[in-house]
């Protein structure tokens, strides 16, 4: 089976400014592929290139086995698209918007539309100008999903949706994938993507920093560790932790006797990598409390982002943080 999307050496220049510097990635059919990056990284530009809304300056694109530049209308009938900035006409209703797009990209099963609208709790007969941002976004999702496309290209799909509706959206994505569709979605927040995506590309300043699975990101990410134990000297607890690969920032102290069992030691550390070696070491201790936090993928990704532009930001943030401190002291 051919890949759903293949992008090779994709470059895009607007005038003199190059915003995509040669992207390479491929999306396997029947998977969810997430692109994460801060605003301005090139996510929207990449998606618009896939839909032939803008044209690459260099490189090749294949979408569902076809070149979007040449394939024409039949290809776009097989794609559902949610733009990053969704604009809707004012003097119309959701139903009429959907009917229009159905007339272009149909056929559309009306029961499917009604079903999706029910699940998203969207009133299709309201005037679009009276819809909240979240409700407009639901309408945008509906027009992307309604003709059951083979490929969904969704730019910041969860933006403006409250958590409950996000769950509905994730269910819709899963159902689409179960039905054989491929989903290509973007976000500037990893936590929104990690739930849905099989693979994640991290985009920064028009370059792909890494393509990885959410699982691999999770392994690479740093977790916070904190535990209390009794019966072991603080010094020995520290030594034990130091033996575990991936453990860093170890801090150990003996807790004061009041409120705790005598000789309670509290330890904090960070862990990156696998947890099994840590658990094996901790099993030697007499633990009274243990917290191993959910890995902060956000942190992991932010580290990747900040790789390039740290020097330019540093003086600015330094100056900003110093001033109030000084004022406070005076």
């Amino acid at each position: 089976m051919t890949q759903a999307i293949v992008v090779e050496g994709l470059r895009k220049k607007f005038g003199q400014r190059e915003v995509l510097h040669g992207l390479d990635f491929a999306v396997e059919p029947g998977t969810v592929f997430g692109v994460i990056g801060p605003n301005g990284a090139g996510k929207t530009t990449t998606m618009r290139c896939l839909l032939d809304i803008i044209r690459p300056s260099a490189g090749s694109i294949s979408v569902l086995g076809e070149d979007p530049r040449r394939a024409g209308t039949e290809l776009r009938r097989r794609i559902g698209y949610l733009p990053g900035e969704l604009h809707l006409e004012n003097r119309t209703t959701g139903r009429r918007v959907l009917e229009h797009f159905a007339a272009i990209s149909g056929p559309v099963d009306q029961r499917h539309v009604n079903d999706l609208a029910d699940r998203l709790e969207l009133d299709l007969d309201r005037q679009t100008r009276k819809l909240s941002k979240g409700n407009k976004q639901k309408l945008g999702l509906l027009q992307a999903f309604m003709h059951k496309p083979e490929l969904l290209i969704l730019d910041e799909p969860t933006s403006g949706l409250d958590p409950l509706v996000q769950q509905v959206f994730h269910a819709m994505v899963r159902e689409a994938v179960d039905g054989g569709a491929t989903v290509f979605l973007s976000s500037h927040v990893l936590s929104e993507v990690q739930q849905a995506a099989d693979a994640v590309a991290i985009l920064r300043d028009g370059d792909i920093v890494t393509v990885s699975t959410v699982e691999a990101l999770r392994t690479a990410a740093v977790r916070q560790l904190r535990f209390n134990s009794t019966g072991t000297e603080a010094h020995d607890v520290g030594a034990l932790l130091a033996r575990v690969p991936g453990v860093a920032n170890v801090a150990v102290r003996e807790l004061p006797a009041d409120g705790h069992a005598a000789g309670t030691v509290e330890a904090t550390a960070t862990l990156s990598g696998h947890i099994q070696p840590l658990i094996q070491e901790l099993a030697r201790l007499n633990l009274t409390d243990l917290v191993l936090e959910e890995p902060d993928l956000e942190e992991a990704v932010l580290k990747l982002y900040s790789g390039g532009d740290a020097p330019s930001n540093a003086p600015h943030s330094l100056g900003a943080s110093k001033q109030p401190e000084g004022a406070h002291r005076a």
């Binding site: 776009r76 733009p83 604009h87 003097r91 119309t92 990209s105």
Partner: protein, 266 residues
């Protein structure tokens, strides 16, 4: 099920309010101007007043011919107020069709669906053509209705030709606006270019008629191509009808080509 010409039907139905508003404006203008002909244009007093005006001014306003019913209709309705209203309508529609749609961010999503860009331009141009035709037909009927009561004495065939030129002239401004909008993606450029075609055409005609030294300006004036021989009085110049429609068709084709070749929404 896919319907035929979805963009055309949408453009037409979405703009019924504006079409109705322009129709009301044209109706009001016709109802105000034409019934006054017996007391203004046809009266000898008025003729004396016009004779007293500087000849340059009467020529610029086409008032040199308002002593006859067809001349009066030509000068006041087709040459001035009707021309103004119809051009504004067509320019507004033309500028909104692609440039305005792109600027408001709507075009991106439309193009992501199963349409071609050429289809977008052509269907929307067709919607402008139909709306212009509706307004022109209304003008034709209203003038015909008033022809007897207002003692205008207009030949029906000549009126038909004049209305055709009236529509073709407005369509030219509208398609110029469409083209500029499709080329730039900005509504304001569409309005500017469309309005320039209408206004410069009018000004070149007004100035060109002043003396033989500046007569060459008339050749650059679509307004003069259409109205130079007073079609309400003398019948249409069919070459002008064809010429105007051909330029409009060319502008539509160029608009489609321009949109086809560029990035949208950047």
């Amino acid at each position: 099920m896919p319907r035929p010409l979805p963009l055309f039907t949408k453009a037409l139905t979405d703009s019924w309010r504006s079409t109705l508003a322009w129709a009301l404006g044209l109706t009001a203008a016709i109802m105000l101007y034409l019934p006054l002909y017996p007391s203004i244009g046809g009266s000898s007093q008025m003729q004396q007043m016009i004779d007293a005006l500087p000849p340059g001014m009467t020529k610029a306003l086409n008032y040199d011919q308002i002593a006859t019913g067809p001349g009066y209709t030509q000068a006041t309705l087709f040459g001035l107020i009707g021309f103004l209203l119809m051009s504004m309508a067509a320019v507004g529609w033309g500028a909104a069709a692609v440039g305005g749609d792109e600027e408001s961010g709507l075009l991106e999503l439309t193009l992501a669906h199963s349409v071609t860009r050429v289809q977008v331009v052509l269907e929307r141009a067709l919607a402008i053509l139909v709306r212009t035709a509706i307004l022109a037909a209304l003008v034709f009927v209203l003038v015909l209705v008033l022809n007897g009561p207002a003692q205008l004495g207009i030949d029906v065939g000549h009126l038909f030709g004049a209305v055709l030129l009236f529509a073709a002239l407005a369509l030219l401004s509208g398609t110029a606006a469409l083209f500029a909008g499709a080329l730039t993606g900005r509504k304001v450029y569409g309005v500017a270019v469309g309005a320039a075609v209408a206004v410069l055409g009018y000004v070149f005609n007004a100035v060109g008629r002043q003396s033989t030294n500046v007569e060459w300006l008339l050749n650059l004036s679509p307004y003069h191509w259409a109205y130079g021989n007073s079609p309400v009085a003398n019948g249409a110049d069919w070459g002008a009808v064809t010429g105007l429609l051909c330029i409009s068709a060319a502008l539509i084709a160029l608009g489609a080509l321009a949109l086809q070749r560029r990035d949208v929404g950047v």
